[in-house]
């Protein structure tokens, strides 16, 4: 278990990595930081990173809280596909934008509710519980689109993907809004504390009177909503829904973003902004590799390498070897007195 040392030093690896990746991009591509205004919207590689990173950042926001409760949501990619499929199909059928948005978000909410009930009430392990929807979700999306790639022409929905607000692209605006609302919801209320408490010790929290089932359902519902927004953005951007490929494997990017952001898979303390930073690190790498003209195959390998470095920087074992103030040992290095050869079992 990593013990969160308070203070800004803890966030250094994330911000450091983001800056390093951005600088690397700049070296490869001197125009990287160039931003221009065109038709009332900002353009440039940096804006591109933000814009393309928005879906994973949104997923990461929801995923952060799920992971903080010691869970994981594998279904977010499938939920994106469902919400996108509903949006495209309904728009194609002539529904108004508010109805389309409401239906897509409601689908995300229902998916989250399903996951939450499996985890909180039926007490199925999160990885299994959400695997069900990960598999079934794409099937549902295909049913909605009747196996076709559905396209639409409505400029109203497309605006969400390619429009802009005060020169900022809509996906970025939506991400900021969702991040802000989420942060407000958990930090201005006691929800954040309860999420962390449940993640650290569900039994103790329940014993203290925390409504653990409601907390758990809430985080999965919120995660489903975030995924639905991400799905809307992707569909609006490409003006169509591809039930097979929308959001494919993005759950893994989202989990990675959260972990790179420093939230432990063992639950407990979480940082929403840091997860978004994690998502941006991942996207900046994608963009950089694309710009550099390397084969896309490199993408995965370079990505894995950089992630390894970020994770190593957070590892308590490594911090042992880094210089530190005299007498201040990283507490996280303390081995719990477990009986020997526990074989990875958690005491």
């Amino acid at each position: 278990m990593t013990l969160s040392a308070p203070g800004p030093a803890r966030n250094l690896p994330q911000y450091g990595a983001l800056i390093a990746v951005l600088l690397a991009n700049w070296l490869l591509f001197p125009d990287f930081f160039a931003i221009r205004l065109q038709d009332g919207r900002l353009f440039g590689s940096l804006i591109d990173v933000l814009n393309r990173g928005a879906p994973v950042a949104l997923l990461a926001v929801g995923m952060t809280m799920v992971i903080a409760t010691r869970g994981v949501d594998l279904s977010v990619g499938a939920v994106m596909a469902i919400s996108g499929a509903i949006a495209a199909t309904m728009t194609g059928a002539g529904w108004s934008l508010p109805a389309v948005l409401a239906a897509s978000l409601a689908a995300g909410l229902l998916c989250g509710l399903w996951n939450g009930v499996l985890v909180a009430v039926l007490r199925i392990q999160p990885i299994i519980a959400t695997l069900i929807l990960m598999v079934a979700g794409r099937g549902i999306a295909q049913l909605v689109t009747e196996g076709q790639i559905v396209t639409f022409t409505s400029p109203a929905l497309a605006f969400i993907g390619s429009g802009s607000f005060l020169t900022v692209p809509m996906p970025v605006v939506l991400t900021i809004v969702v991040l802000a609302v989420t942060a407000l919801l958990v930090r201005a209320t006691a929800l954040g504390l309860m999420i962390e408490a449940v993640g650290v010790n569900r039994l103790s929290s329940a014993g203290a009177g925390v409504n653990t089932p409601v907390v758990l359902v809430a985080v999965y519902v919120w995660c489903g909503l975030c995924a639905a927004v991400a799905g809307l953005i992707v569909t609006a951007d490409i003006r169509g829904a591809d039930a097979n490929n929308a959001g494919l494997w993005l759950e893994l990017d989202a989990i990675l973003a959260v972990v790179v952001g420093g939230t432990s898979l063992l639950g407990g303390r979480f940082g929403l902004v840091l997860s978004v930073v994690g998502a941006l690190i991942i996207q900046a790498m994608n963009t950089g590799i694309l710009l550099s003209g390397f084969k896309p195959e490199f993408n995965l390998i370079v990505k894995a390498g950089v992630l390894l470095v970020v994770l190593l920087l957070q590892s308590p074992t490594l911090t042992l070897f880094l210089p530190r103030p005299k007498g201040a040992r990283p507490i996280g290095t303390v081995k719990p007195p477990v009986a020997p050869t526990s074989g990875g079992a958690k005491p």
Partner: protein, 519 residues
Amino acid sequence: MTASTAPPSAPLLAIRGLSKAFLGVQALDGVDFTLRHGEIHALLGENGAGKSTLIKTLTGVYQRDNGTVALEGREIAPRGVEEAQRLHIGTVYQEVNLLPNLSVAENLFLGRQPMRWGLVDRGAMRRRARAVLQPYGLSVDVTAPLGRFSVATQQIIAIARAVDMSAKVLILDEPTASLDAQEVAVLFKVMRTLRSRGIGIVFVTHFLDQVYEVCDSITVLRNGRLVGERRTADLPRLDLVAMMLGRELEAAAHRIDLGPAEVDSRPPLASFKGFGKARSVEPFDLDIRPGEVVALAGLLGSGRTETVRLVFGMDRADRGEATVDGRAVRLKGPRDAVRLGFGFCPEDRKKEGIVGELSVRENIILALQARQGWLKPIPRRRQEEIADRFIRLLDIRTPDAERPIQLLSGGNQQKALLARWLATEPRLLILDEPTRGIDVGAHAEIIRLIERLCADGMALLVVSSELEEIVAYSRRVVVLRDRRHVAELRGGEVSVERIVAAIASETPNVAGSGAEVRQ
């Protein structure tokens, strides 16, 4: 067992100038400690004095900053628990840290399983497990997962494991905290046998009676420093307490003398009729009046813990009814109980009590916040006030309220849990082994505090293996046997003799309904 090769003059274990600092805390500061062959040596001190840290530094759980440790004259520096075990040092740490998902037998032989043809010999392991547990009169199913058993049973299993491995040194960090008198007697018999074989035993406890019963010498720590080493025979109890606290202990708290008539005339605060749960406790009737201290006494596994868990909704009763203030209430879970103004410190502090990674402040305000609901956050400033008030009131030793609670010493964690409930100003406080691991000074303080709260009308339902403690502060004792409430003693009837008699008045039904069968 390996024969000793060192000069016989060298003490079994010689610790010199041992130091260990954690962020912001000098937990050990140049401590000396000497353990001789064939000696039971008490290591004493207040909560947070550094006893557990000494043990963990000695056995390689933590790496020391300074100092030397010599085993029979040879310097050792184990880099982990395993290495300490290879040096024939067996340890029971304060928090039982076996693996709940593995079977009892696997836990006993973890890392040293009997092998045959390159495979674990399960049959031999089971047989040897039974043999290892036999001296403790514990006949459990050794193939059942450890997590199924009570804290006390797990503790005995941890002790048996350590004893089985300690060919030279046995270290016991508060092993008796959840054991009752009978089990303690068994443990002491085992310890005396080991002593007669020349093994040295380090024994940490807060029960001074036990110190005077088995220990040959005493080393006292205070604030991470050595206060001194004495022969038990030369150290009167009052002097020992003064050594530990650095001051005299104020006169022991005496029982609240509310006239029984006065309390009995009050309408019950909570009342349970035919309350029970299949395979847990037989249906029982229980009235608890404001200002009253009701104690539950009985042997391990007699249904004491099960009773209080039902009362708090931690386990769900499947029969009977509960009324509070004369109104029927649902007790579907702890949340219902918290809303009714109940509070509950469970027996298993680590598993069901603390939220380890969260700060002391967050742990203290958690129940209050949960009762207020998530929409009404307690302002940070107010949280800090509450935390600081209880840190002072209960003398919780921590550098500040923001430290993760898991870094506090065991006794201080216990105090923080008590603070969590006191912060909710409960009407009924339920404590399962409340003074476990709390030092003599703090113990007296806490009892005084509880008496004050009871005088203000709080009711207390307490499970304790300490009969003297029960007699000292309760005016009604419910005695349990075989998961059934069998007797109730009131007022003048409450005495250690009467409780013991009630517990033993019938030959126990050995085929009890639970998993644990005791001889």
